[in-house]
Symmetry: C3
Subunit: 146 residues, 3 copies
């Protein structure tokens, strides 16, 4: 039984590469501040949970509203999200992906500064039309324990 | 027809991993300032286009000359280029790869500073001897729109 | 003969993805300061060689002791290690993996600072129970030649 579970959770290289491609596209949309298109990479009832500040955005409409409110922060910089160390596990209808994230902001003079690092846990699903979508994203800012 | 195009553009995991290996080697040569060997990872008529400063280097010889002129900037630091979010599409004789790049410079005391982030679009080709080479690279520095 | 060597050194996408998963887990343990569990991702006689400071830790016990001594440095921050540009080669009983590393430290206020960048060369082995373990790790801090 344990073996079957392990078997079921094994992700193929083809799936892994497809998931990396999904994140590359999703991240490009986010960093280009293409808010509606970014929200479109989530399921219609998708959730973004900013665990560290107790903010839970349920549904694309709520995501778009929250991102629109945050836009002024990104008006004078180009944000970039850098992902690493994907832990990918198969689930019943997709994958659970756990990764770490660094955020840069480059201003007009070329100066780079940094937002706090964080961890992300995503629930990805394969839709009926074969696309990958994020159903739930839990974001947690890195904070020292003490 | 659309389906055939999609089919044709799908990159296998084996190709994806081979391309990552190509970038790992190419980037190591660049960061080690092995200029001639780096230029050798391009086709003989390869091009590097620094879109953000209107500089177009055509051919390995021009690349080597430009890199040699830039060497003093890197004399007292170790540069490292960090790539992420590869978008890979098959082309007729290779791949189009679109990615983002962060550059660190570590000095003798261990202090790290950063060059502006940028995006890169590469045209990679498979040569007759089976090697991957870059035929064209377009580099664009991240600049806020406003 | 050269062909056979090249053949033998070719890493499959499945192996590559498995190795990335190994690093994702190992790195998470290291950054969570789960020292014993991190040491457990090495072979019993595993070695960490900090080439740049002439420190060679042989065996899990020595690793644990050295990491425990370094803990105070990480008490008020969350460290994150970011890896890139893996060069993976098959060996007789595993793989040789060469990569670059950036280290961030995020403090309680969200401020991020950086340790010097470095290169790592790992000797990974497949154990009899099918797990990947690190047998030797050589770490070298980036220092300008002049």
């Amino acid at each position: 039984m344990a073996t079957q579970t392990a078997e079921r959770q094994k992700v193929t290289a083809e799936e892994y590469v497809e998931i990396l491609g999904f994140y590359a596209r999703q991240c490009r949309l986010m960093d280009a501040l293409k808010i509606e298109e970014f929200a479109g990479t989530f399921t219609e009832d998708g959730v973004i949970d900013h665990a560290h500040r107790g903010e839970r955005l349920a549904g694309r409409e709520a995501m778009v509203a929250a991102m629109r409110a945050a836009l002024p922060r990104y008006r004078s910089v180009v944000p970039r999200h850098w992902f690493d160390h994907y832990l990918v596990e198969k689930t019943e209808d997709g994958w659970r992906v756990d990764y770490v994230c660094l955020v840069t902001r480059t201003d007009a003079t070329g100066k780079v500064d940094f937002e706090p690092t964080f961890t992300v846990v995503d629930e990805l699903v394969r839709t009926e039309t074969g696309e990958i979508r994020t159903r739930e994203r839990v974001i947690d800012q890195d904070r020292p324990a003490s």
